[in-house]
Amino acid sequence: MTVVAGCDVGSLTSKTVIMRSGRILGNAIIKSKPNPVESAQTVMQAALAACGINMADILCCIGTGYGRNNIPFVSDVKSEISCHGKGAQWLLPSARTVIDIGGQDCKTIRIDNAGQVVRFAANDKCASGTGRFLEVMSGVLDISVDELGNLSARATAPVTLASNCTVWAQADVIKFVNSGCPLADIGAGINTAMAKRVAILANSVKPESDIIMTGGVAKNKGVVSTLEKLLGHQIKKSRKADPQIAGAIGAALFALETINSR
């Protein structure tokens, strides 16, 4: 049986997915280490352990992500854009637009029905609209990034942040905290500022339904629901797997293509 793997070494988290016959056998997500080689080895070991497979069983492994050129056990590397496109299409066959928000970047990708990239826009220069923005703000509020996502639903009078820039927004949030503003209202304001920035990028590729989000921030309900309002489109979810591993899924699917074409 053809066992393949995809390894996505990101700036904040690293992911590995092991697939067989188009199904996920096992996967792992870890916090990236300063050394990408270590990240790759650790997350691969974790994924192998999760499904009781040995490294030798994997016929082909493709790498992607920021640290892709440092993965010792891959036969080839593919761009994050193509891997997220392919992975998203596997997660949701009707997906035609992918919004991927990672730890330090944001990408929006239009794909065709085969998961091939039609056009894309990316931001990896500005912290605003990336996972980093939420990390900084949740730090000010002294809550986890996961808790931040739940605040929008509980807000009664959401604040408006004066700026999308992480630096200015952080100063704004501090002011709101010091003035005794309810946590939920501030949290809603943060999620909205985040969604606004992402929407600008997303609209630049003229999003089409179905829209799916990948990357860790896809799990933030506040950002997702605000983004839906701003884009005027529903954002679909997939029950097949965690959206954070979409890139690794795409890489594994590329590995399968490589095997099949040999």
């Binding site: 300063p34 220069k125 500005c126 912290a127 980093r132 992480t166 630096v167 200015w168």
Partner: protein, 261 residues
């Protein structure tokens, strides 16, 4: 006849008193929470230094972020026109003014007579503003005022690839953890910031002579790095405090207005 110019910025407030074309006093203070209070204090300080009273001021022109809150102001003018006017008055050959303030950055191209031909500013992104340096000074635990001097002692050419303050800060932490020298890191930071500002300047077309205004111009490291990034020598304002140029321009507007009755 005494006239006054008052520049209420986001971080500092500045005032200049002019009497018959001479600067008789000036003041710079950190802003208070209310622009009106900042204006009152900085004007009072300048008056005290000149030995004058508020009633002696024939005309007061305000500029800057808080200009509309200056008590008893006679007129307000944009920061762009005031910085251009102030710089051109001190150096008639100036054709480009780059003003880096606490929370914004502006580039202006000036015509021969001193009128503003074109300008562009950034007040949306902290990169390329004084805030970048403030945050890095905190991260490296060194006084802001010493950054330029320390950066000058660099020996190893490091590269900081990010211009975004947040991402650059992460790079700084990695460099510190890798045991790199503070002077080298600072030098790299100055170059990263200069790149951002140079891009702003280039977007409207650079023309010499170029001068810098605003508080950040006092940082020799940025001064040098920006000159290198633009591939030219940035002219100095002959000992005049670059932070006061906006207030100077406002005072010159006040003089024109008072002259015209």
């Amino acid at each position: 006849m005494i006239v006054a110019g008052c520049d209420i910025g986001s971080l500092t407030a500045k005032a200049i008193l002019l009497e018959n074309d001479e600067i008789i006093s000036s003041a710079v203070i950190r802003t208070k929470s209310r622009p009106a209070a900042s204006a009152r204090e900085v004007i009072q300080t300048a008056l005290m230094r000149a030995g004058s009273k508020l009633e002696d001021i024939a005309c007061l022109v305000g500029t800057g972020y808080g200009r509309n809150q200056i008590p008893a102001v006679d007129r307000v003018e944009s920061e762009i026109s005031c910085h251009a006017k102030g710089a051109h008055h001190l150096m008639p050959t100036v054709r480009m003014v780059i003003d880096i303030g606490g929370q914004d950055a502006k580039a202006m191209r000036i015509e021969e007579g001193g009128a503003v031909a074109q300008y562009r500013y950034n007040d949306k992104c902290a990169s390329g503003t004084g805030r970048f340096l403030e945050i890095m000074a905190e991260a490296l635990e060194i006084p802001l005022a010493e950054m330029g001097a320390i950066a000058d002692q660099a020996t190893e050419k490091l590269v900081i690839t990010s211009q975004c303050v947040i991402f650059a800060e992460t790079e700084v932490i990695s460099l510190v953890n890798a045991g790199k020298q503070t002077a080298d890191i600072l030098n790299a930071l100055h170059r990263a910031m200069a790149k951002r500002v140079a891009a702003l300047a280039r977007s409207i077309g650079v023309a010499q002579d170029v001068v810098m205004t605003g508080g950040v111009a006092k940082n020799k490291g940025i001064y040098t790095a920006l000159g290198k990034a633009l591939n030219l020598k940035i002219k100095s304002l002959n000992g005049n405090d670059p932070q006061l140029i906006g207030a100077l321009g406002a005072a010159l507007c006040a003089r024109e207005h008072a002259d015209n009755g």
